[in-house]
């Protein structure tokens, strides 16, 4: 479709495309998505994004901060629609980009990519209002059913690759391996955290919303990480990306692959849990206050990661005022990409960059979960499993797009309050 570039240009200007074009686009998108497995394999480098929720202008800001597609390889973890005023333009643009650059754009399903939820939270009404019928909503919902449920990122580097010309902040002392770097929207490094060595005081906790630093991770090469892949230069373990979290019905990534995903999000079961669950400071599993999915504790994450040779789970789904939040010794991270959520919450947003391992071993990582090669946790033996060494993470934190970029009246209508 040579019209695709025109459609992208039109949507980038936040103008909807004709209904017939939407139908064609959705048809093509389905053809591409149907070929994807339930768990897509993505090679680093990749930029991982959380909820967008129809905040179109903030998506433009995200592209400004993270780089334009297809130059940047993007992975969006769902919840493209609902709540914001521009769910339609947001989802259609992402879908156009998916069709145009299928290998540079990965879209996985969020709990809002559902017929039921979109009738309550705005996307249905928006489609109806903008087209005068529910046809476009139906086309989009049909695409939702084909979106992957998760992704596995392979070949992410243990070390932060320098982003040339961006940083004016002093680098860490020679020899220190940077594990986490936090940048602002201008690309300036706001803070860096070296991978903790013995005796290194890591103050990440104060910077990332009270998350304990990954103190259990052994020094590089010490083997204290519980695996032999801890040496410098080796790629990190794989990263599982999913919208919500884990399910008590899923102990292996391979089990996600066996699900029949081409349906409306069910009210319960493994597929529902993957899109609805949340990590929480509990032991084991708990009931979710959301009414769907479960809460899961650190022990669940650590066992799951060990069993599946994962070093990290990246997920979205929960508003985080600071944009991202690492939990459970950095075994799981929440990434939230809708700044000033619902035009009301006052939060900042973040995206997560995983850079490519340049040791030449990246794609050789055996931990892609596609083949059942791990011991399934049988060999856990005594004590809590030690987490694998995580990939180096660069978070880019950004704020809502400036008002004047929205093309909206100065007195823009705002979110509801109790009055």
């Amino acid at each position: 479709m040579s019209d695709l570039d025109r459609a992208i240009a039109q949507l980038r200007a936040c103008r909807p495309i004709p209904e017939s074009d939407v139908r064609e686009l959705c048809h093509k998108a389905r053809e591409i998505l149907i070929e994807e497995g339930n768990v897509v394999t993505v090679n680093a480098p990749v930029t991982i994004c959380g909820d967008i929720h129809g905040q179109f202008h903030d998506l433009m800001e995200l592209f400004r901060v993270g780089g334009d597609p297809p130059d940047t390889n993007y992975l969006f973890m769902g919840d493209f629609v609902d709540r914001g005023f521009y769910s339609l333009e947001t989802f259609l643009l992402l879908l156009c980009l998916k069709v145009r650059y299928p290998d540079r754009m990965t879209l996985i399903r969020g709990n809002h990519e559902s017929r039921q939820i979109t009738t309550v939270y705005g996307f249905y009404d928006e489609c109806y209002r903008k087209y005068g019928s529910a046809n476009v909503w139906r086309y989009c919902c049909d695409v939702f059913d084909y979106l992957a449920l998760g992704a596995i990122v392979l070949g992410a580097s243990n070390t932060i690759s320098p982003s040339a010309g961006e940083s004016s902040v002093p680098t860490t002392p020679e020899g220190d391996e940077v594990e986490i770097e936090v940048c602002n929207a201008q690309g300036e490094v706001m803070s860096r955290f070296p991978r903790p060595n013995n005796g290194t005081n890591n103050d990440l906790q104060s910077r990332t919303n009270g998350i304990p630093p990954p103190s259990n991770t052994g020094p590089p090469g010490s083997g204290a990480s519980g695996s032999s892949r801890g040496s410098v230069g080796n790629p990190a373990g794989a990263v599982l990306c999913v919208h919500g979290g884990l399910s008590p019905l899923i102990d292996k990534v391979d089990k996600i692959r066996l699900l029949d995903r081409k349906q409306e999000v069910p009210h319960e079961g493994a597929m529902c849990d993957l899109l609805w669950s949340d990590p929480d400071e509990i032991d084991g599993w708990g009931l979710s206050p959301r009414g769907a999915g479960f809460l899961f504790g650190a022990d669940i994450v650590k066992v799951f990661n060990h069993r599946n040779d994962l070093s990290l789970i990246a997920r979205a789904h929960q508003l985080v005022m600071e944009g991202f939040k690492e939990m459970f010794d950095a075994s799981i991270v929440t990434v939230w990409s809708a700044p000033n959520y619902c035009y009301r919450c006052g939060n900042v947003a973040a995206l997560l960059e995983l850079s490519e391992d340049d040791s030449g071993m990246g794609v050789l990582a055996r931990s892609n979960g596609e083949v059942n090669r791990s011991d399934g946790g049988v060999g856990l033996g005594d004590g809590e499993p030690q987490p694998m060494k995580g990939p180096a993470r660069r978070y880019r934190v950004f704020q809502a797009a400036p008002q004047d970029s929205r093309g909206m009246p100065a007195k823009k209508p705002v979110a509801d309050y109790f009055l």
């Binding site: 309550v120 705005g122 959301r290 009414g291 508003l319 109790f418 009055l419």
Partner: protein, 436 residues
């Protein structure tokens, strides 16, 4: 929800109307006047200030639509909500987070009202409720409905709001045949003209189970009460009665600033001629146990005016007195800053929010107003955020019922929003104990 999926109020669709500037255009510009600056008490509305007022006045419409939405989906049982929701049934649909908040605030105030009425059940002369800025609130109708769960005898229910508001309410009450089983045909009351008021009216409660109860609707800009109150309040400040048991030092902050603020903020009203009769609300009986309610009303006034209005009632009412205030808090965190700026974009200002920022400030406000311990007599001050009310006052059964209606799926957002609204209440005197 339903197959036809009535549209969620889409703010974008209001763009044209919001920009239009006409008083009656769009749902956020009602005909109701409410709070804010503008015309002083006794004066005719000036054109510029009236326009400024008008942007704030839609808050009652906003609340009515939220109430309608919560009722329609089944959060609240209120057959009278639709009479006052201008948009009519079908158009009102709020998101679950707003519906849950509307549910929590309404049931919380209901609970406190019920406790007050239970406590004063045997009060020989009766008891009264005063609802400030009641607007199109339906609480009085629900209370006096023949199908209300509890008989409420000898309750004098006063509502105070702008004359235009009272005129509208009278029109609706008069024109709704189903209300004749609750209220007698409204009768106009001539009062408050010296204070810029008007359109007051009165109805008797019809149902026998609520024998002796009445509704009085007073048409008055609340700032007139503040203006009328100021001379006596200044006198009062010479000899402020410190409530026994009030936290040490709790008075200092307030009295140190009040006088200055009055001169700056209320400068125009102070120059009003002082020859007026004292302000009296017809049928407000100073000797009855009284409950004062401000449901998002006083927060739209200047701090000194809000204090003066509370002071009017604490000095007028000689019997036991309770007060329930519901309004936002925490303007200084990220959510609160955005709230203030978003509301400012709608020209809604909440001056008291800058003074009573936290729960402690709200509680201190009531201590300073004389609630709390009062010698041998009872008293107290308490507060809960809407989030706490939802967690602590809503039964598990109700939570499950309500959650099944809306599917509120974002707990973090709820905690943020509901944590920024508070119900603070206080009581003094014998016979009432709102310590729940």
């Amino acid at each position: 929800m339903s197959g036809t999926a009535p549209s969620i109020p889409n703010l974008l669709s209001l763009r044209g109307r919001i920009g239009g500037g006409g008083i009656n255009q769009g749902r956020y510009r009602g005909v109701i006047r409410r709070g804010g600056r503008g015309h002083g008490p006794g004066g005719a509305p000036g054109s510029a200030s009236a326009a400024h007022d008008a942007t704030i006045q839609g808050t009652d419409t906003d609340a009515a639509v939220s109430r309608m939405s919560a009722v329609q989906i089944g959060y609240l049982d209120d057959p009278y909500a639709e009479l006052f929701a201008q948009s009519g049934p079908g158009a009102a649909r709020r998101l679950p987070i707003i519906n849950r908040g509307t549910y929590a605030r309404t049931t919380a105030i209901d609970k406190l009202v019920d406790k007050f009425l239970d406590d004063t059940e045997r009060s020989p002369e009766g008891r009264q409720i005063v609802s400030l800025g009641a607007g199109t609130d339906t609480r009085s109708l629900r209370l006096f409905s023949p199908s209300a769960p509890t008989p409420r005898k000898r309750v004098i229910y006063h509502e105070i709001d702008f004359p235009a508001m009272c005129e509208k309410k009278q029109r609706i009450v008069r024109g709704a045949p189903q209300l004749r089983s609750i209220l007698s045909d409204p009768e106009s009351v001539d009062e408050l003209s010296q204070h810029g008021g008007g359109n007051s009216w009165h109805s008797k409660v019809v149902a026998e189970k609520h024998e002796g109860s009445e509704l009085w609707v007073h048409g008055l800009d609340l700032r007139a009460i503040a203006a009328a109150q100021q001379p006596s309040q200044q006198q009062q400040q010479q000899q402020p009665p410190l409530p026994l048991g009030a936290p040490v030092g709790s008075r200092g902050l307030h009295s140190a600033t009040t006088q200055d603020e009055q001169q700056t903020e209320e400068g125009t009203t102070q120059q009003q001629p002082q020859q007026k009769e004292p302000l009296t609300l017809t049928s407000l009986n100073p000797n009855l146990p009284t409950l004062l309610i401000s449901e998002c009303c006083l927060c739209y006034l200047q701090h000194s005016a809000a204090s003066s209005i509370i002071s009017f009632f604490t000095t007028t009412i000689q019997s036991s007195l309770g007060i329930v205030i519901y309004e936002p808090i925490k303007p200084d965190d990220a959510f609160g800053k955005m709230m203030v700026s978003n509301l400012a974009a709608r020209e809604i200002k909440m001056p008291t929010l800058e003074v009573y920022k936290e729960a402690e400030d709200q509680e201190r406000r009531l201590w300073e107003a004389g609630f709390g311990k009062d010698g041998e007599k009872g008293g107290g001050v308490k507060s809960k955020t809407i989030e706490q009310i939802w967690e602590e006052w809503t039964s598990q059964e109700e939570k499950e019922r309500v959650d099944a209606l809306g599917g509120l799926d974002e707990v973090e957002e709820w905690q943020l929003l509901a944590g920024h609204y508070i119900v603070v209440w206080g009581w003094r005197g014998e016979g009432i104990d709102l310590g729940i």
